[in-house]
Amino acid sequence: MKPFLLQHFLELSCEQFPDKVAVKHGTESITFEGLYEKSDSLGYGLQGLGLSRGARVGILLDKSIAQVLSILGILNAGLIFVTINPILKEKQIRHILKDCGIKLLIASEKYGRQLENILSDTEVEKIIWQNELDEMIHACRGKNSRHTGTGEDISSIIYTSGSTGMPKGIVISHRTLIEGARIVSRYLQISEHERILGLLPFNFDYGLNQLTATLYKGCTIVLFQFFMPNSLLNILIDEKITGLPAIPTIWSAVFNPQLCKIDPDQQYPALRYISNTGGKLPVPIVKKIRQHFSATRLFLMYGLTEAFRSTYLDPGEVDRRPDSIGKAIPNVWVEVINKNGKICEPGEVGELIHGGACVTKGYWNNPELTARAFRPNPLLPAENQFLDRVVFSGDLVKKDREGFLYYVGRMDAMIKKEGYRVSPTEVEELLMGHHDVFEAVAYGIESEAAKNEIGALVTAKDGIDIKELTNFCRRNAPEYLVPARILVMDEFHKTETGKIDRPRVIKEAHEKYDR
């Protein structure tokens, strides 16, 4: 029957490749057997803490072997892991802890001071610090967690921006993680010989996919924290990386001559594939990747966390249609539908819907929003649509005559930046937290350099210091929420119902400042 829980991947790979390195991070590494035994002991230790089955456990750790052990230990204990990206600030971390009622947190000591300010109004009862993990594992050595569960059990909650306000928790079953690993490994042809660069964070669906594929295939993941593009190019060579999953921001840094020196003659003989997700890669960058990594296959992928992974473009098609997001991944169908729920003609813009594998369970704590994004299948006969559930992506796409899909934009005002979905409301709330700001409007600015930036317009109560306001944003929010430019307006035009007339305000700002 196995695998039906994610940890079964590890169990099966451990039987086959016990002495092989599963995870490498700098000079540290751990084999499949080490990972299996330690995560089993950790699971046993966590079970001893008396949490009820299905309790959520937060992980606030940097990318590390300890983070991987924590994920697997939590699953072994029959609990749900919630990975919190350490780049988040107090406000966002508090929201996640509260929203899914985290009682137990595994955290790095260095975030201790930050956590002191946060914990008072959360349900967190216990923190296991990173340096206590080893003690717990050691104390439970040889013990088995023996968790029984089903593939439909919740494995993880991934937080991502919704169309309004603070991030929403997307609930993912073991089955979805297993399907995602199998499907992606299939079309990327991942084998046991792979050395995958673990560059993307595990609180991002595709980042987590690098770990699950590693456990599934018995290959190796090399964890890497991206700071400087030159170091990325170096590690590809030094670690003989075969698979490089990345997002547009990384490429805009690599191909920025002020940030990175590229040796045009450099070869990457080991590098078998590059995959891109988390936003559309501009065609000039696609061409640069093809030129510099000419022997490497480039997979352009598209997915949203609600449906884990949706489409990819066959590498053989990239030079012919570099702006396409391809077709549905195996065991998944996608369609473009119009407002009447009918399938669009080629060239007609409509909403992308996703059915088949990889449909997640919905949003934690939010039945209304879940009912809006996860709906009955409109392609079935009307009376039987309830039998199937599909994801309405909110993404506008079109397809060509051969069925290749092209991303057009968002139906809502959501901004895609650096692989994050940013809700304008979240940025506006951030700005209005400053005492000089009266009203705020945030919107997306598309730029050539593969980066979508956030623009913001504010009206002031009195005077306003833009530089100070930007610093204020930076102190209170992660970098991806900070507007690249903030403009001060005298006032915002209102609609008849008294709401800010956003399109008009944005247009007026454009006329005022860009002419």
Binding site: D62, F227, L259
Partner: protein, 77 residues
């Protein structure tokens, strides 16, 4: 040197509401992510009027406030 370290420390305090010891490893301190780093490099080039070559942009030159200050002093010579 001390003055440069102080200026850098103030920048971190102002931008990130955080305090770094001069020898603390910036990359593992969990304060700055990669985009923040690009901003820090922009600040350094403007504030200290130095020009950076792409080959300068390796972690070895930036791992702590003290190391950055040393690197800036070398570039200014």
């Amino acid at each position: 040197m001390q003055q440069i370290i102080h200026t850098l420390g103030e920048y971190i305090k102002e931008q990130y509401n955080a305090k770094l010891d001069k020898q603390e490893n910036i990359f593992s301190a969990g304060i700055i992510d990669s985009i923040g780093f690009v901003n820090l490099i922009g600040f350094i080039t403007e504030e200290f009027r130095i020009e950076l070559d792409p080959e300068d942009l390796v972690e070895d030159n930036f791992y702590s406030l003290e190391r950055i200050a040393q690197f800036i002093s070398e570039k200014k010579e």
